[in-house]
């Protein structure tokens, strides 16, 4: 079974609002799919339908071949889900809570103990095992939520904003855990996020949805390539006075435009900062470097940018 999640015409309407609009999506084994989109785009709603929490208004969702509305229990067995906000039974301790989840998942005895211990180890909950969950910090709470999702080593992981509210270290750990799980093989992971660098760090595929529809679907690299800053060259130059830096650079082959990032006076020669944009995102650094060398301008810095995801995001979602 290579197609782990398949949605066909998945739709959800709340009264007059269409939250998810005939969504067609297929997730294969081994993929780590990043679900991006502005707030209210329908990411969480889609996840709630795939996991069986909300019933679709129309359309279907299949997980490992089982349809969610017809065979809800089979679907839920195979999914590990971290809902938005990581809700937990806050009067329990992490150990008791994970024990409950393990029992619900049909684990008992040694298997249960091993699964719980492994989840604790992977999410580093050792220090807080016996404190009531309500006394834990947000970061720890989210890790407990993650632990319950991975406890039964599911073939499908659905994580709704898993690093939300975590500090940079914790974010890094969670992302590393996700990468490890993906590397272990045989899984599909879907995570929704607002953090664009996370998509780059963790995902093999990025899907942007807006107003309930898919507006972009491809690898993070291909997404980034859509940015107008893709392969642009950022320069800090000290040309001799009177040089028409921008005009010269703009006339080079393959240059679409030159952005003025401001000139700083002072010293023998002023510091001219600019960004040279490439036509069609094709590499231009060689041409630029050659020209600068020929003209003998002083170079403070020169670096090529891959592109900024948030520009692409804004471009695509019309924000």
């Amino acid at each position: 079974m290579s197609e782990m999640i398949v949605t066909a015409g998945l739709t959800k309407r709340f009264g007059s609002i269409t939250a998810v609009d005939r969504l067609d999506l297929t997730v294969q084994t081994g993929e780590v799919l990043g679900f991006l989109g502005p707030n209210g785009a329908g990411k969480s709603t889609t996840m709630k339908m795939v996991t069986g929490f909300l019933s679709p208004t129309s359309g279907t969702a299949r997980v490992c071949g089982h349809e969610v509305v017809a065979e809800p229990l089979k679907v839920k067995e195979r999914i590990g889900y971290l809902p938005e906000g990581a809700p937990l039974y806050s009067d329990m301790t992490p150990r008791a809570f994970l024990g409950f989840i393990a029992e619900v998942r049909g684990l008992s005895g040694t298997a249960k103990r091993k699964a719980v211990d492994r989840a604790i180890e992977q999410t580093q909950l050792e220090g807080v095992l016996h404190q009531p969950i309500e006394t834990l910090s947000k970061g720890f709470k989210r890790r407990v939520g993650l632990a319950q999702a991975i406890l039964h080593d599911p073939s499908v992981l659905i994580l709704d904003e898993p690093t939300d509210g975590l500090d940079p270290n914790q974010k890094h750990q969670v992302r590393r855990l996700i990468r490890e799980m993906a590397a272990a093989g045989g899984k599909s992971i879907v995570l929704s996020t607002h953090i664009l660098e996370e998509v780059d760090a963790v995902c093999t595929r990025a899907v942007i949805i807006a107003k309930g529809r898919v507006v972009s679907d491809g690898t993070p690299a291909s997404l980034v390539a859509k940015s107008k800053y893709h392969n642009s060259v950022s320069l800090g130059l000290r040309p001799p006075a009177g040089t028409m830096v921008f005009d010269e650079l703009a006339r080079l082959a393959g240059v679409a435009a030159v952005e003025d990032n401001g000139t700083i006076e002072g010293g023998e020669r002023p510091l001219v900062r600019c960004t040279v944009m490439a036509v069609g995102g094709r590499p231009i650094q060689e041409a630029v470097a050659k020209h600068i060398g020929q003209r003998g301008w002083g170079v403070e810095w020169m670096h090529t940018q891959a592109g900024r995801l948030d520009d692409v995001f804004r471009q695509i979602t019309g924000g």
């Binding site: 229990l73 839920k76 809902p83 809700p87 989840i101 619900v104 998942r105």
Partner: protein, 245 residues
């Protein structure tokens, strides 16, 4: 079909004892039962070796205390968001509804059992009909179950525990006094006599009183059983319906 029942039941039951709520409830129940029996019921003055006064108090105690217990069954889960966790776990809806109900019922029965000192007292002071007392305890446990099932439905209907409490209170009151004036008058104006008589037959109070006289009649058991069955079934339906939101 009842996948996950045991896990839910155990979790809920232990959950009662983690918080102080459980102990407060038990203390209040025992104290109030005592007050009703010995003071208001004038048990010592009556000088009768039975627990009439004690059991007479139960329906009224339950009227206020059971909704307090049942209001957290579902409204709490909705409020804290854990309902999303519960309903995406491989637990069947029936198992979730029944598991929670059974845990609440087990807890109520525990509170009831803790009144055994009263039984010991009456046996020490006199020679009561213990068969009647046993039947009364059974009837009381069944009645508690009935109230809880009603409360479970009210809790599923709303997100607010307070509203759940009030709705349960009103519904339980109606059931308690189904055969008496306030409730009957409500129906008497427009419903045919047959219906009014039928409604009277749905009073928790009369069924409980019958059992606590010492006779365990099949139709009293069927009554409480059907209340529990129907209201738990309705709870399941409401939970499912609210999934659309």
């Amino acid at each position: 079909m009842l996948r996950g029942l045991r896990a839910v039941f155990l979790r809920e039951l232990t959950g009662y004892f983690i918080t102080p709520v459980a102990y407060v409830f038990i203390v209040i129940f025992l104290v109030m039962a005592g007050v009703f029996t010995f003071q208001l019921g004038r048990w010592f003055q009556a000088e009768q070796a039975d627990l009439r006064a004690f059991f007479d108090a139960h329906p009224w105690l339950y009227l206020f205390l059971i909704p307090a217990l049942s209001m957290r069954l579902w409204a709490e889960e909705r409020k804290s968001g854990t309902i999303e966790l519960l309903l995406t776990l491989p637990v069947s809806r029936s198992a979730a509804v029944i598991g929670k109900f059974l845990a609440a019922w087990a807890f109520a029965v525990l509170a009831l059992t803790l009144t055994f000192p009263v039984w010991i007292t009456v046996n020490y002071l006199g020679n009561p009909d213990n068969g009647v007392i046993l039947a009364s305890y059974l009837g009381s446990a069944l009645m508690a179950g009935g109230f809880l099932a009603v409360g479970s439905l009210m809790s599923a209907i709303t997100n607010s525990q307070v509203i759940a409490f009030i709705l349960s209170l009103v519904a339980c009151f109606a059931f308690l006094l189904a055969g008496y004036s306030p409730v009957l008058e409500f129906f008497q104006g427009w419903a045919p006599q047959g219906i009014v008589d039928a409604i009277a037959g749905f009073s928790f109070l009369t069924h409980f009183q019958t059992i606590s006289r010492g006779e365990l009649a099949a139709r009293d058991l069927v009554f409480f059983g059907s209340v529990i069955g129907v209201f738990l079934g309705a709870t399941g339906v409401v939970i499912e319906m609210k999934k659309g939101q």
